[in-house]
Symmetry: C2
Subunit: 350 residues, 2 copies
Amino acid sequence: MSRVVKLAVIPGDGIGPEVIAEAEKVLDAVTESAEVTFEKTRFSLGAARYLETGDTLTDEDLAAVASHDAILLGAVGGMPGDPRLKDANIERGLLLKLRFALDHYVNLRPSVLYPGAPGPLAEPGEIDFVVVREGTEGPYVGNGGSIRTGTPHEIANETSVNTAFGIERVVRFAFAQAEKRRNKLTLVHKTNVLVHAGGMWKRIVDEVASEHPDVAVDYLHVDAATIFLVTNPGRFDVIVTDNLFGDILTDLAGAVTGGIGLAASGNINPDGAFPSMFEPVHGSAPDIAGQQIADPTAAILSVALLLDHLELSDEARRVTRAAREDIEARDGSARTTAQVGDAITARLRA
Amino acid sequence: MSRVVKLAVIPGDGIGPEVIAEAEKVLDAVTESAEVTFEKTRFSLGAARYLETGDTLTDEDLAAVASHDAILLGAVGGMPGDPRLKDANIERGLLLKLRFALDHYVNLRPSVLYPGAPGPLAEPGEIDFVVVREGTEGPYVGNGGSIRTGTPHEIANETSVNTAFGIERVVRFAFAQAEKRRNKLTLVHKTNVLVHAGGMWKRIVDEVASEHPDVAVDYLHVDAATIFLVTNPGRFDVIVTDNLFGDILTDLAGAVTGGIGLAASGNINPDGAFPSMFEPVHGSAPDIAGQQIADPTAAILSVALLLDHLELSDEARRVTRAAREDIEARDGSARTTAQVGDAITARLRA
Ligand SMILES: CC(C)[C@H](C(=O)O)[C@@H](O)C(=O)O
Ligand SMILES: CC(C)[C@H](C(=O)O)[C@@H](O)C(=O)O
C-alpha cells in the first residue's frame, strides 16, 4: 500500500497561482512512479479572498489547513496601496498567523549560487549556505502598540520577545544542519546593542556548541554579516539568527545568489506536531501577475525542500538536480512561467 | 579676528588613533589659510582607558566633551572576547551614550561609489545616495531586560521606542536633504510586521511629503531594500530609516561602494544644542591595529562632513575632492595609513 501525504495547497495572490501551478506539475511528475501519493486540498486564501469575504484566516480555515501533513504556499498579498486592503494585513493575518499557529520555529532558507545563475557580484566565488531563521519569536511576535495614535504626541513601541526555550530548539536544529554540511555555524545578532536578547542567543549557542566540538562556531553582528554576504559569501555554511535579522539576510542572500526568483524556503515544525509549510521567499508581485513572466523556480525548489522534509530524499534530489540543470542551461532568452515548469519537468523525466 | 572652533578629538582604540592622525593632518592642511582656527582637545576614551581606570564615560567626561563645538571620533572597542572587557560594553557605554546624550538624532551616512573604488558588484552603475538614520530612538534605546537570566526559562525582551516627535524631526531633515539633492526620498521600514512603529513612520513621512510636493517619495520594506542595494543602488537618493535598519543598510551600502574603509558618517544635532560628532563607519579593528595598514579615507571623509556641518563648505569640498582624486589614482599597490593621509594632504595643497 502506498504512503499518502495530505497536502494543503495555498496558491494565494498575484503570481502565487502561476508559480504554484508549475510547482505542482513538478511534484506530480516526480511522484508519479513513487511509493507515495499526494492528496491535495486547495485553499483559497489571501487578498483576493479577503476582498470577497472579509476573512483572512478563520479558525475553521486554520483547523482545516492544520489537518494536513504539509503545506505548499505560493505568495499572499494584494496590490500595495489598494485602499480596500487598508485595514487588512494579509501578511500578519495569514502568513505570520500560520507560521505562529503551526509553530514553525525553523524558517529554513538555503542559498546556493547555481552555475549559470546571474548574480550581481563580480566575483561571487562558491556560495552554498543555509540560513536557519527563528520563526516564532523576536520582533515578529506582534507585541507592539501605540498611544496618542495619529497625533504629534504618538509613542509606538514594538517589543521583541525571546525565550531560552525558543532559542535553544532552533539552535539545536542549526547545529544538526551544520553536522550534515561543512561543520560551520555563524550566529548573527546585534549583541552590542540588543544586549539582553543578544546575550541570551550568545549564551545558548555557546552552551550547545560545547556538545558539538566538531562544529566551528563564530559570531557576527548583523551589520557586518551584510558586508560579508557581498564580499565573501563563501565563508558561510550555516547561519543561525533571529526572525527579523533572518528576514533581512535571506532577501540579501537571495539577491546575491541570482535573485529571489530562485530562493526557496521551508517553515518547519521539526517536532512534527504541526504541518510544515514550504514557500518561495518572493512575494506575490501583483504588478507582474497573470503575465506568465514570473520565475517558478523558487516554488519548484520549495517542493524539493518539502520532499526532503517528508524524507523523500531521492525525489528531493531529482527536483533540485532538474532545476539546477535548467538554470545552467539558461541563455537569457525569455520563457513563460509554464515553459520553465515544463522544461524542469522534462528534465525530471529524462 | 578669525573664527575659533573648539574640537574634541577622541582617537579611541585599535586603528582609531592611526586614522585620526591622518584626519587631523588633512584638517590642519585645509584650514591653515582659512579664516578659522581649530582648538583641539584630545580625549582618551575607549577600551584602553576602561582597562586602565575602569571608567567608560563619566559625567565629567561627558560635560567636557559637550562643551566643544564639534567632535571627531576614530573608533572605540577592544579586542572581541577580551575577558577583561566582559562586563564593559564600550559601544553602549561610550559611543551610544554620546549619541543619545548629545541628541544626535540624525546619523548621516553618504554612500558614493567613487571612480576607481573597488566594489563587489559586477555592474554597480552610478551610486550616490545618503542614508538619514534616526539616532536616538528605536531598538537602540536600551529598553530591554530579562528574567530567569541564565536559566532554561529565561525570557529576554527588547523594546523599540518610537515617538512622533523623534520621527518628524529626522524626516524633516531627510526631506531637506532630498531637496538639496535629486528630490527623491525612500522610507525603509518593515511596516507589515512592525505595524505600530512602521505605521507611524509611514504616516509622518506622508504628512511631511504633502509639504514637499517636489520630492518623489517611495517606500521599501527593509528586506527588499537590501536587494535593491545590490541590484540597483542607483535608484536611491535619500533613504530615511530607523536606527537599527539604518545601521544594517549603511554597512551594506559601505560594502557596495568600495568598503567601509571609505564610509564616513556624521552624528548630527541639527538644532545646534549639542556638538555633532563625526566618525568613520568602521570599527576599531584591533586585529590590524598599529600596523599602519588601515585606510584613513573614511576618517578623512568624516572631516569633510564635519567641515560641511560647520558651514565651511569650500574646505569640505576641497577635502572630498582630494580624497576622491586619491581614490581614482589608486593602482592597488600597498600604502601605509600615513602615506594615504600624506597623499590626500598633498593633493589638497596642490
Ligand atoms: C511577508 C513578510 C511578513 C515575510 C516576513 O517578513 O517574514 C516575508 O518577507 C518573508 O521573508 O517571508
Ligand atoms: C558599534 C555599534 C554600536 C554601532 C551601531 O550599531 O550604531 C556601529 O555599528 C555603527 O554603525 O556606528
